[in-house]
């Protein structure tokens, strides 16, 4: 069993128009910048994929990564908790012009909805957002005398995520707080594509410390020295 693919371009080659795409990371931490840029490069060469629905905690920052994806007008709708950043101009301009849809979800509910998608739980109840605008139109049920909001699972056609190290079976470990949404998104997508700094043989990761078991991963691509969104933005980088 070998889930490695040879290039970033090959890794993102099968993402289709209209796909629901989960993109890992919290801000720039754990964001798969190289995979996102490969997707942009493909779009600029072929016109595909377009009309994407993207699930991420944020809406990008500056002109690289998710912000660059939005800037290319590849994203029809964004599902996120916090579309603000140091430089949110790309998303903000399109949103205020009514040219991108936004589904705003509380951060913990977003995480739990993604986990539910991966775990085969179609709906659950949470106290979060009860009595607020973000619960409008949602089913309310009382348990033990307290009201809760019903929330639905979130699934995706594809997840593109970043980890630190993988073995050829797709077992993953992460680096520090770059873990965040990545392990959940691996679970919730039909096809999960991971970029890692290092690929080792099976047995090269202690079974006790695996964070994402390989069953949740379909493709692994090696990016030995990945860029950090924060560094790129401090340099004023643009992609392309």
């Amino acid at each position: 069993m070998d889930k490695t693919v040879g290039s970033l371009a090959e890794a993102v080659s099968r993402i289709g128009d209209g796909a629901h795409v989960m993109i890992g990371g919290f801000g720039g931490s754990g964001a798969p910048i190289e995979l996102i840029h490969a997707l942009i490069d493909r779009y600029r060469a072929t016109g595909h994929p377009k009309d994407l629905t993207v699930i991420n905690n944020n809406a990008g920052n500056g002109h690289v990564g998710l912000a660059a994806l939005i800037e290319q007008r590849m994203v029809k709708k964004l599902i996120c908790s916090f579309p603000r950043s140091a430089d949110p101009k790309v998303f903000t301009d399109l949103y205020l012009a009514g040219e991108i849809e936004l589904e705003l979800v509380p951060q913990g509910t977003l995480a739990e909805r993604i986990r539910a998608g991966g775990a085969g739980i179609p709906a659950f109840y949470t106290p979060t957002a009860y009595g607020t605008d973000l619960a409008r139109g949602k089913k309310i049920e009382e348990f033990d005398g307290r009201p809760y909001v019903q929330e639905r699972w979130l699934k995706a056609d594809v997840a593109i995520v970043k980890a630190y190290r993988a073995d050829r079976h797709g077992n993953l470990v992460y680096s520090k707080a770059a873990r965040n949404f990545n392990p959940l998104m691996c679970m919730a997508a039909a096809h999960t594509i991971v970029q890692v700094e290092e690929i080792v043989e099976p047995g090269g990761i202690d079974p006790e410390v695996v964070v994402t078991p390989g069953i949740f991963v379909q493709s692994v691509v090696c990016v030995t020295d990945p860029q950090q969104e924060e560094d790129l933005n401090r340099q004023g980088a643009h992609h392309p």
């Binding site: 085969g120 739980i121 073995d167 043989e201 099976p202 079974p207």
Partner: protein, 223 residues
């Protein structure tokens, strides 16, 4: 005496349908035998509910590590690329549709795919374990079983009479006499022992066998 496959031979036949790279859960007991007959050149990864992916053969007697067991509480070993995880993550794999195949035993299977394999009804202590979870989520849920009970009664029925494990969940049944798919609420015969007539097979089956296409001879090596 009707010719029939041994348990090992049924397990062998089921093993031939496991694709290279498949993630597989084998039910406790008889289904565990399927792991022995993986075709050469194919690599399946076995999952156990209590939190291991890619476990292997039992260890030599006397070298067991009782922290390293399968869902049947038997000692196992690890293969390279194994992973440990807790029970909620383990059943996320099951319920979330991440397993390619689950192969389970059965008391009864109905032509609509209903499965009964956890309770023989009233009396005794009921115990369900992971059976009701395993029938949901795996991309393919197969059953391996004797074609009839020890008393000679059909186990493949129009409707199950024992308490259900799951509704409309089974898609293929490997029996001691035949391989039968469940499609559109019907038993569809795919393979049968060459020495057995269709009429004879039908007489041992509690639901109607449909034969929309060719029926292959069910040929299994001596084991």
């Amino acid at each position: 005496m009707i010719p029939k496959l041994s348990n090992a031979q049924i397990a062998w036949r089921a093993a031939q349908d496991i694709e290279d790279g498949a993630y597989v859960n084998l039910g406790i007991g008889f289904p565990e035998m399927v792991a022995r007959y993986q075709p050469e050149g194919r690599e399946a990864i076995f999952h156990t509910e209590n939190g291991i992916l890619n476990f292997g053969e039992p260890p030599a007697e006397g070298t067991e590590d009782w922290d390293l067991i399968n869902a049947g509480k038997k000692a196992v070993t690890l293969k390279p690329g194994a992973a440990f995880f807790h029970h909620a993550d383990s059943f996320a794999m099951v319920r979330g549709g991440h397993l390619d195949v689950a192969i389970l035993g059965a008391y009864q299977v109905a032509e609509n795919g209903d499965l009964a394999n956890w309770s023989v009804g009233a009396g005794g202590v009921p115990a369900v374990g992971g059976a009701m979870d395993l029938v949901h989520g795996a991309k393919r849920v197969a059953v391996i079983t004797e074609h009839v009970t020890k008393k000679g009664e059909p186990k493949l029925l129009s409707r199950c009479t024992l308490p259900l494990t799951g509704v409309a969940c089974v898609t293929r049944v490997y029996t001691s006499l035949a391989v039968i798919d469940i499609e559109g609420g019907r038993f569809v015969l795919r393979e049968k022992l060459p020495s057995l007539s269709l009429d004879a097979l039908q007489s041992l089956t509690g639901g109607e066998l449909h034969v929309p296409g060719p029926v292959t001879d069910l040929i299994v090596p001596e084991l």
